[in-house]
């Protein structure tokens, strides 16, 4: 499972995407948040971050599949 990174999240991680090891696959958005906070503590310092699944903001209960396009969305600042 891959997680796309943007903006400051990409800079903090020093890469464009995170790779979740096969034996740590999160089942839901909540699980993914927990995994990110544990593995990439620096991201927890952000004001907030949202998770998008298949190009939509996803709540904690949303299920994740290996085929899902997952992205970590730091606070937006367009406009």
């Amino acid at each position: 499972m891959k997680i796309l990174l943007f903006g400051i999240a990409r800079e903090i991680a020093g890469q464009q995407r995170l790779e979740v090891p096969p034996d740590e696959q999160p089942e839901t958005v909540a699980d993914l948040r927990a995994w990110v906070n544990k593995r990439y503590g620096a991201l927890a310092g952000l004001k907030s971050f949202a998770i998008a699944v298949d190009n939509e903001y996803a709540e904690d209960h949303v299920k994740l599949y290996p085929s899902s396009e997952i992205a970590l969305i730091p606070p937006v600042s367009g406009g």
């Binding site: 796309l4 943007f6 903006g7 400051i8 800079e11 310092g45 952000l46 004001k47 998008a52 190009n55 939509e56 903001y57 992205a71 969305i73 730091p74 606070p75 937006v76 600042s77 367009g78 406009g79």
Partner: protein, 136 residues
Amino acid sequence: MLVEIVAEIDLNRAFRHLQTEGAGGINLFIGTVRDHANGKKVRLLEFEAYIPMALLEMQRIGQKAMERWALERVVIQHVTGEKKVGEPVVITGASSAHRAAAFEASRFLIDELKKTVPIWKKEYYEDSSVWVNAYP
């Protein structure tokens, strides 16, 4: 509905899209790069977008505006890449038979865009840079 992520804002293209026979009022909001932010002199801005999701969010916002007001058409254009002071970075616009709806919808579009569309802005000052809005 014209929704796009572009290298350069095209004011005339936005206007032409909004121009219809039923429109009496067209409102355009153009965001431009300001020379100062947080008390610092801004040298340039850099925009990054999660393009497929940003386009979907922009369409969703445009759709919401079309449902809420009696509009002829709606435009949202946003740039990615580097922009210098004075340059336009975003347009929102709406056309309607009457001006009130055009003003209100255009304001709604830019307010919503700033809240939900996955686009990020990095401000470069004389001696440093920062991703806007990232930290508490």
